[in-house]
C-alpha cells in the first residue's frame, strides 16, 4: 500500500474528460510531480486530492483510507496555492498560526511550532510583517510554512514558483529539494515547466489530455520517452517518423521522409512494415565541417538554416537536401565563442544507433 493511491480516477466537465481514468501511487517521503501542458488535468487531479473537486469515477485513498466524503478541511493534506493565498489581514505569524488554531493546538505550543516552521523556510525575523510587506519569494515561503506547520501527511503544491522570476525560481527549487528532504513529507507538485520537474522530482507523471502518458524517474523520462508527446514535451527533441523497413540484431531501420534511412537500437520487438518514431536529442547529434573518418551508423549532410546562441550552447537547425530539419547542439566551451558555423555552411551530421530512442507508433 502506498501513501496515496489514485485508482481509475475520472473527472468530466460536460463531455470533456479533464482527468481520464488515471491510476498512480505516491510513496511516503516522495517528491512526486504531475507534469503537463495547461489543460492536461494535472490541477484538477490535485484539487481532487485536496478535496476541492470530486471524482466522477474511481477512488482516492490516503493511507488506504478512501477520502470520498471528507471535505477539504478534514483531509490531512495541505495545499500551497499558485498565488500564495496569504491572508492579507494577518501578519506572517498570524498566517502560520491559523492552521494551528483551526486544529485546536494548545496556545502554549503554538509559538514553538510557528518558530520551527518559519525556521524551515528561513523566515525568522519576519513574524510581524504583513503579506504586502513581503517579496514574492518570501510570500511563497510563508505559504509553505503555513502548510507545513501542522505536519500534514502530504503537501500539494500547485505551480508554486510560476509567478517568480527565473533566478529566484532556481534558488527556491534548491530550497524546496532540501526542505522536502528535511521534513520528509511527501510532496505532490504540479507544474508545466519540464526543467523544474526534472530538477525537483523523484518521479514524474507526464500528463496529456487527462491521461498519464508516462510515469518514471526524471532521467528515464528524458532518456527513454515512451510516447512522441513525452519526447516532444520534455526538452528539445528531433522526432523522425517513418516505416520500419528492417530489423536485425536489435537495430531497427526506419525510412524517414525527407531524410532517408535512419537506424536506431532498440530492445523492443518491432515488426517490419509498422510505423515507428525515433526520438533524438540535439546534444546527441555530432556536427562537423568535415565528413566523419569512422563510418558512423547514421550520417547525413545539410546546410545550417538557423542558429540560436544560448550562451553555454548554440543550437543549429540544419536543413537536409530534401528540406527536412535536424536540430543539433554544440557546447561553446571556449568563452567568447558564439558559434562554430555560420548560416549557410555545409555541415556533416552523424550519430550512433544507440543515440536515438525508438518509439512505436
Amino acid at each position: 500500500m502506498a501513501l496515496l493511491d489514485i485508482e481509475h480516477v475520472t473527472r468530466r466537465f460536460g463531455d470533456f474528460a479533464a482527468v481520464d481514468d488515471v491510476t498512480l501511487a505516491v510513496e511516503a517521503g516522495e517528491f512526486f510531480t504531475l507534469l503537463g501542458p495547461s489543460g492536461c488535468g494535472k490541477t484538477t487531479l490535485l484539487r481532487m486530492i485536496a478535496g476541492f473537486d470530486l471524482p466522477d469515477g474511481g477512488r482516492i485513498l490516503l493511507n488506504g483510507q478512501d477520502l470520498a466524503g471528507q471535505p477539504p478541511e478534514a483531509r490531512p493534506v495541505r495545499t500551497v496555492f499558485q498565488n500564495y493565498a496569504l491572508f492579507p489581514h494577518m501578519t506572517v505569524e498570524g498566517n502560520v498560526a491559523f492552521p494551528l488554531q483551526m486544529a485546536r493546538v494548545p496556545a502554549g505550543e503554538r509559538p514553538a511550532r510557528i518558530a520551527a516552521a518559519l525556521e524551515d523556510v528561513r523566515l525568522i525575523g519576519f513574524e510581524k510583517r504583513y503579506p504586502h510587506e513581503l517579496s514574492g519569494g518570501q510570500k511563497q515561503r510563508v505559504a509553505i510554512a503555513r502548510a507545513l506547520v501542522t505536519h500534514p501527511t502530504m503537501l500539494l503544491l500547485d505551480e508554486p514558483l510560476a509567478a517568480l522570476d527565473a533566478k529566484l525560481r532556481e534558488e527556491l527549487q534548491i530550497e524546496l529539494i532540501n526542505l522536502q528532504k528535511e521534513v520528509g513529507i511527501a510532496f505532490v507538485y504540479v507544474t508545466h515547466d519540464q526543467t523544474e520537474a526534472l530538477a525537483l522530482s523523484h518521479r514524474i507523471a507526464v500528463m496529456n489530455a487527462g491521461r498519464v502518458e508516462q510515469l518514471d524517474e526524471p532521467s528515464k523520462i528524458y532518456g527513454f520517452p515512451r510516447t512522441k508527446f513525452v519526447a516532444d514535451f520534455i526538452g528539445q527533441c528531433n522526432l523522425f517518423s517513418g516505416l520500419v523497413t528492417s530489423q536485425s540484431a536489435g537495430v531497427v531501420t526506419l525510412d524517414v521522409a525527407g531524410i532517408g534511412p535512419v537506424r536506431v537500437a532498440t530492445q523492443a520487438s518491432v515488426a517490419a512494415g509498422s510505423i515507428g518514431t525515433i526520438a533524438l536529442r540535439p546534444e546527441k547529434v555530432r556536427i562537423a565541417a568535415a565528413a566523419p573518418v569512422d563510418s558512423p551508423d547514421n550520417h547525413f549532410r545539410g546546410t545550417v538554416a538557423d542558429l540560436l546562441y544560448m550562451g553555454d550552447v548554440t543550437v543549429y537547425r540544419v536543413q537536409t537536401s530534401d528540406g527536412s530539419r535536424i536540430e543539433a547542439l554544440l557546447a561553446n566551451s571556449q568563452s567568447g565563442r558564439a558559434k562554430f558555423f555560420e548560416v549557410g555552411d555545409a555541415v556533416e551530421m552523424s550519430w550512433p544507433v544507440d543515440a536515438g530512442h525508438f518509439i512505436a507508433g
Binding site: 477539504p72 478541511e73 486544529a103
Partner: protein, 291 residues
C-alpha cells in the same frame, strides 16, 4: 492656475452654501432669541453686546434634551445594526450570484430611490395602518391567544421599520462593493488549512469586509441620527428625536439660538463618530486596503 479654475466653483459653492451658513448658525447659538421668534438684536438698547451661553446651559442642564439626544443615538444605532444584519446576507448573495444577474439585483436594491422619499414614508402609514392586512394578521393572532390588539402605526416599531427600510440600500451598496472583490482563493486556503464554514466567515470574510461595514455604518448612522420626517409621520408622542426637536425650535417654538445649539451638538457628535469610525477602520483595515 488651471487647478483653481477647476476646483474654484465647487469650493465657492461649499463656502456660500455650507461654510457661511454653518458659521451663522454657530454665531446664532450664542445669541438670545427674539421676542417674536428669530434672534434678538446683537447689540441691545443699553449698547451692550448680547452674547451668552444660555442656550448651551439649557441643553446640558435640562435632562430632557440630553435624553432625546441619546434616544436618537439609540434609534440610529439600532437602525444601523438591523441594516447590517439584513444587508450582509443580501450583499453576499449579490456578490456571489452570476455576473450577469448582479447589475439587475443591484438595480432592485436602489429601485426605491426612484420614488419620492415622503411618498415611501407615507406608504408605510398604509402598510402599518389598523385596517391593513399586516395589523389584522398580527392582532388576529394576538386575539387568538387572548392579548389586547396593539397599534402598529404611530409607534417606535413603525419608526424603526421605516428607518431600516429607508437606509438599507446605503448599507448594501458599500458592503457589496467590498464583498465583490474578495478572492475565493483565500477561502479555499482557509478551508484547506482546516477552517469550517463559520470559521472561514469569522476569520476571513468578515474581517476583510470591515471597511465596507464601516462605510455602510457611517452612511446609515449619520443620516438616521438627524432624521425628523419619519418620527413625525410614523412615530407616537414618545418618538420625538433630535431632528424633530431642531425642526420644532426653528419652525414652531421659533427659538433659533437653541435650535442652533441642538444642530451643532448633532453635527459635532456625527463628526466625532465618523472620525472614530475612520480611525478604527484605518487601524483595523490598513493592511487590507494596502494588500
Amino acid at each position: 492656475m488651471a487647478k483653481w479654475i477647476v476646483s474654484g466653483p465647487p469650493l465657492l459653492y461649499l463656502l456660500v452654501f455650507f461654510a457661511i451658513p454653518a458659521l451663522i448658525m454657530v454665531v446664532a447659538s450664542f445669541r438670545s432669541p427674539g421676542e417674536f421668534g428669530g434672534l434678538a438684536p446683537l447689540v441691545d438698547e443699553a449698547g451692550k453686546l448680547d452674547i451668552n451661553l444660555d442656550s448651551y446651559a439649557r441643553f446640558f442642564t435640562e435632562t430632557v434634551y440630553l435624553q432625546v439626544f441619546f434616544k436618537s443615538a439609540w434609534y440610529a444605532a439600532l437602525t444601523t445594526l438591523i441594516c447590517l444584519a439584513l444587508a450582509y446576507p443580501l450583499a453576499t448573495l449579490i456578490a456571489k450570484s452570476p455576473r450577469k444577474y448582479r447589475d439587475l439585483l443591484l438595480l432592485l436594491v436602489i429601485l426605491p430611490f426612484w420614488s419620492n422619499f415622503l411618498i415611501r414614508v407615507y406608504a408605510w402609514m398604509i402598510i402599518l395602518g389598523p385596517n391593513a392586512a399586516l395589523a389584522r394578521v398580527i392582532n388576529g393572532a394576538l386575539a387568538f391567544v387572548g392579548i389586547e390588539p396593539v397599534p402598529l402605526l404611530f409607534s417606535a416599531f413603525a419608526v424603526l421599520v421605516c428607518l431600516v427600510y429607508v437606509h438599507l440600500p446605503f448599507m448594501v451598496l458599500p458592503l457589496y462593493a467590498n464583498l465583490e472583490k474578495h478572492d475565493q482563493a483565500l477561502l479555499d486556503a482557509a478551508q484547506d488549512l482546516g477552517a469550517n464554514g463559520w470559521q472561514r466567515f469569522w476569520r476571513i470574510t468578515f474581517p476583510l469586509s470591515l471597511p465596507g461595514v464601516y462605510a455602510g455604518a457611517a452612511l446609515v448612522f449619520i443620516p438616521a441620527l438627524g432624521i425628523f420626517a419619519i418620527p413625525d409621520i410614523l412615530g407616537g408622542p414618545n418618538d420625538t428625536l433630535i431632528g424633530n426637536l431642531i425642526k420644532q425650535q426653528f419652525l414652531e417654538t421659533r427659538d433659533w439660538p437653541f435650535g442652533s445649539v441642538l444642530s451643532i451638538v448633532l453635527t459635532v457628535a456625527a463628526l466625532a463618530l465618523a472620525g472614530i469610525a475612520a480611525w478604527v477602520g484605518r487601524r483595523g483595515a490598513g493592511s487590507i486596503a494596502r494588500a
